[in-house]
């Protein structure tokens, strides 16, 4: 029994989500291999070989893999799938995009967003926006999983010495082509990896206020910025800042919720934070039921005051 982790990478580096997925993979099946599927991704493959606990890196390199298109990456995984009892992806936009194609092609079920490996065929996962935790058992020979990275520790990125095996990249599927990307370059920490997150809700009132009020606090704390679905829906924040059941799942050391009422769907995304602070002028807001420290005050007063306080 061996596990294959599909690496999250940008061709030059291995992304943090991969390290948490490796931990889950090791719990599934003793031998952990990593697939780095990319274009000019030698550096990423080399970095993968140093991850503690990984015994083999499979490096597939070609233009068909340059943009992470699901149709191509899934084919690459399928070319190797027969050797593995478990195939794991991080539950990131990319992992979630590709994993089900692999599962369906193998005619097996997929277990999404696992939070615990109970045994080789049994996993825990949240349902109903995390209101309940289901323990499910797979009857398939190959288990395709996406891993909630906040539920597993990160494997050490150094210390391993895996062999790197190069394989041919699959041919371009011809179904789909990448046209362009608009990725915001940010100096902020990545939302899913940040130690501190400052998050805003609809109470911020506008995109201008959202930026003007939260950015100084995020700067002061070296924090990433998140948003509730309501704030994203209203256009105050970009879609990939959304924290919640249908957005990102985060578990920082400190989560500061400003003007967020605390709907269950939002809590689903942040209730595993170590310390939760809520600032909301409504004392009855549900967010206070999960906050370690709750401040009932107008965020337009409290947040600037926090920024100004030494």
């Amino acid at each position: 029994m061996a596990s294959l982790v599909i690496a999250e990478h940008n061709h030059a580096f291995i992304l943090g989500a991969t390290l948490h997925t490796v931990t889950a993979a090791a719990q599934c099946a003793g031998d952990v291999h990593i697939l780095v599927a990319g274009h000019n991704a030698g550096p990423a493959a080399a970095a993968a070989s140093h991850i503690a606990g990984v015994i083999k890196v499979i490096h597939a390199d070609g233009e068909s893999l340059a943009h992470g298109l699901a149709e191509n990456v899934a084919q690459q995984v399928l070319a190797l799938a027969g050797n593995y009892s478990h195939i794991l992806f991080a539950a990131t936009p990319s992992g979630k995009n590709i994993a089900p194609r692999v599962a369906a092609s193998l005619d097996v079920a997929q277990c999404s967003d696992i939070t615990k490996v109970v045994s080789a065929d049994t996993f825990e996962r949240p349902i109903y926006a995390g209101s309940a935790i289901a323990t499910v058992q797979s009857s398939d020979a190959t288990r395709v999983l996406t891993v909630r990275t906040t539920a597993f520790g990160a494997a050490a990125s150094l210390g391993g010495a895996a062999a790197v095996e190069t394989v041919a990249a699959v041919a371009e599927s011809g179904l789909c082509s990448w046209v362009t990307s608009e990725i915001a370059k940010s100096t902020r920490p990545d939302l899913t990896a940040a130690k501190t997150i400052v998050s805003g809700g609809r109470a911020l009132g506008s995109a201008e206020h959202f930026d003007a009020v939260l950015t100084p606090l995020a700067d002061k704390l070296g924090a990433a910025i998140g948003a509730s679905r309501a704030a994203v829906d209203a256009g105050y924040a970009a879609n990939d800042l959304q924290v919640g059941q249908t957005g990102k799942i985060v578990a920082p050391e400190l989560y500061v919720a400003c003007g967020i009422s605390g709907a269950i769907q939002h809590l689903a995304g942040m209730k595993d934070a170590k310390v939760i602070v809520a600032i909301n002028k409504d004392a009855e807001a549900p967010i206070f039921s999960v906050a370690d420290y709750g401040l009932v005050e107008d965020l337009f007063v409290a947040v600037p005051l926090w920024v100004q306080t030494a």
Binding site: P126, I127, E182
Partner: protein, 253 residues
């Protein structure tokens, strides 16, 4: 040019679900059910494409018990032209899972030959986020998940997707599978006249056997429990008190 829109009947997003005492599942008796919110966005997009003259027919489909007819009538009231119910047993031990749904949809795709299948990106009950991608693989179609914009021209779809850090644009030939994300559109409200008109639109009921699909679940739910709760917190009087707690008690700043 047909558009197929699968819609799912789920526990309404406002409902606070409770776990059953015997840990067999979540209590769904007598709770309000609604169309999955992302599926409403999918229907809206299909109807808009039809209104723009880019599609000729919007077909809503739902897989599940006979009560899914309510959800299909809502889809028809929102502008779908006809509906198909793939009816599965109302058995507490039977669970229709994404792989089975994808196979049913694949059979319908072969039958109806739509140019586009638009699904919601995720159902808010099982939070699986699989069905659209699985269908695309089975039907050998391109996919664009988490779509925030769709443009059709010359047998191709140009789709903007939400990705980490921003957006990407993909170009794909039709037929294709799209899954709808939050910013794709804002669904219209159902009006009473449209609800009345929907009653006259065709709703066909078929069974999985008619499509030659095995819908037996692959994942067995062993138990369902509540998550561990957090320790109760405290209210602080002002910003100064908050900073004091964060620095000296929680030690996070």
């Amino acid at each position: 040019m047909k558009i197929l829109v699968p819609v799912k009947r789920v526990v309404d997003y406002n409902v606070k679900v409770r776990v059953l005492a015997d840990a067999s599942g979540v209590d769904t008796k007598n709770v309000k059910m609604s169309m999955n919110p992302f599926d409403e966005i999918a229907i809206e997009e299909a109807v808009r494409l039809k209104e723009q003259g880019l599609a000729t027919e919007v077909i809503a489909v739902s897989c599940g018990t006979s009560q899914c007819q309510e959800t299909l009538r809502t889809a028809l009231a929102l502008g779908a032209d006809r509906a198909i119910l793939v009816e599965t047993p109302a058995d507490a031990d039977f669970e229709l899972q994404p792989l089975a749904v994808a196979k049913l949809l694949n059979a319908l795709v072969a039958r109806e030959k739509p140019a586009l299948v638009i699904l919601g990106k995720q159902a808010i009950d099982d939070d699986a986020n699989q069905t659209g991608q699985m269908l695309a693989a089975l039907a050998n179609m391109p996919q664009a998940t988490c779509a925030s914009k769709v443009e059709l021209a010359d047998g191709q779809a140009r789709v903007t997707r939400e990705v980490d850090g921003g957006q990407e644009v993909l170009s794909m030939r039709l037929p294709a599978v799209l899954t709808a994300d939050l910013r794709l559109n804002e669904p219209r409200y159902v009006t009473l006249p449209n609800i009345m008109k929907a009653k006259k639109k065709p709703l066909e009921t078929i069974k999985p056997e008619d499509l030659g699909v095995d819908v037996m679940p692959r994942l067995k739910t062993l138990k369902v429990v509540e998550p561990a709760g957090r320790k109760a917190g405290v209210k602080v009087a002002d910003v100064a008190a908050l900073l004091d707690k964060l620095k000296n008690e929680a030690k996070v700043i």
